[in-house]
């Protein structure tokens, strides 16, 4: 659970789902986003803290 290197806690990742679709999230460690394919949303991660608010999510582009 080390937030210093700004990685998301692996134990937290295991239980996270998309707040909108309740479907799985894929961790994109390069873009620092959590991707919900089902809701077509990308949730940002800031300083290791996942921002799982629908209002803050980015809509996925076609083909993304």
């Amino acid at each position: 659970m080390d937030e210093d290197n700004h990685d998301v806690d692996p134990k937290l990742l295991e239980i996270l789902v998309c707040p909108l679709s309740k479907g799985p999230l894929r961790y994109d460690s390069k873009a620092r986003e959590l991707i919900s394919e089902r809701a077509r949303l990308a949730y940002p991660i800031r300083e290791g803290v996942p921002i799982l608010l629908i209002d803050e999510a980015r809509e996925l582009e076609d083909g993304e």
Binding site: I15, P19, R46, P50, L53
Partner: protein
């Protein structure tokens, strides 16, 4: 969710009625404004009693090393630290307000012992798989939520069977004769302290008004039962100024 609330339906924001869609932003404004001095202000306005109330909540929860806690509206992490100090396992500390979560993070990291994970979440719409937690707590947070029934249903959903929901919130004073003093303290002293300590009197006018609009002990207990929680009980603290509510997922 069984019922959906239209964003234009009105909900309480302190003593005002506002469109449901507007409440989250208004509440966010209150907490953005007071985040940096929030713990200091809690001490001042409760005359230190919030520490006793939170301790009472932990005593009722009885943390164990194998217990994983979700703390909603956990803000600066006060309750999360108490859970760890009392022998609890892991905590997922959440809040809807980034300023509140950040205010606690700088201070608390060394004391987290690597067992506190943070996430920004909306308690009405939780991003956790079912059966993820042994306990869910919310301390002085639920009255700021727009759809309280949704929070209770979501708490139940993420609890494992046998898991427990515990809520600490301002309630109805049950000691006759003290109402006048309590009113004077609430409506005059607290906003004045808020102005002195955080520079934002209006934020504390909101907090006091929101306390009076929140359902009383029995009405709130009925809401827990309505959300499917079992063996619902409550305990008054400080003569009912504050109450703890408990319900189980079975």
């Amino acid at each position: 969710m069984n019922e959906t609330r239209d964003a234009t339906d009105t909900v309480a924001f302190g003593f005002s009625d506002v469109a449901a869609g507007e409440k989250p932003a208004l509440v966010r404004g209150v907490f953005d404004s007071v985040a940096a001095r929030y713990d200091v202000m809690n001490d001042a306005m409760s005359l230190g009693c919030h520490r006793l109330w939170k301790r009472a909540l932990m005593n009722w929860l009885r943390p164990r090393a194998d217990m994983r806690l979700l703390d909603l509206a956990g803000g600066t992490g006060d309750l999360a630290r108490r859970f760890l100090d009392a022998g609890g396992g892991d905590v997922v500390l959440t809040d809807i307000n980034e300023a509140m979560l950040a205010a606690g993070r700088g201070r608390a990291r060394a004391r987290d012992r690597g067992r506190v994970a943070r996430a920004l979440v909306d308690a009405e719409c939780l991003p956790f798989a079912p059966h993820s937690f042994d306990a869910v707590t919310i301390s002085f947070g639920i009255r700021n939520c727009t759809d309280i029934d949704a929070v209770l249903r979501e708490a139940r959903r993420v609890l494992r069977p046998g898991g427990r929901f515990l809520c600490l919130e301002f309630s109805r004073l049950a000691l006759p004769g003290l109402e006048e003093l309590y009113d004077a303290y609430s409506f005059r002293a607290i906003p004045a302290m808020g102005r002195l300590l955080t520079g934002d009197r209006e934020a504390y006018v909101y907090l006091v008004e929101s306390i009076r609009r929140f359902p009383d002990q029995q009405a709130f207990a009925a809401m827990l039962a309505g959300a499917g929680l079992a063996r619902v009980e409550y305990r008054d603290l400080s003569g009912g100024i504050v109450a703890m509510h408990s319900g189980w997922k079975i």
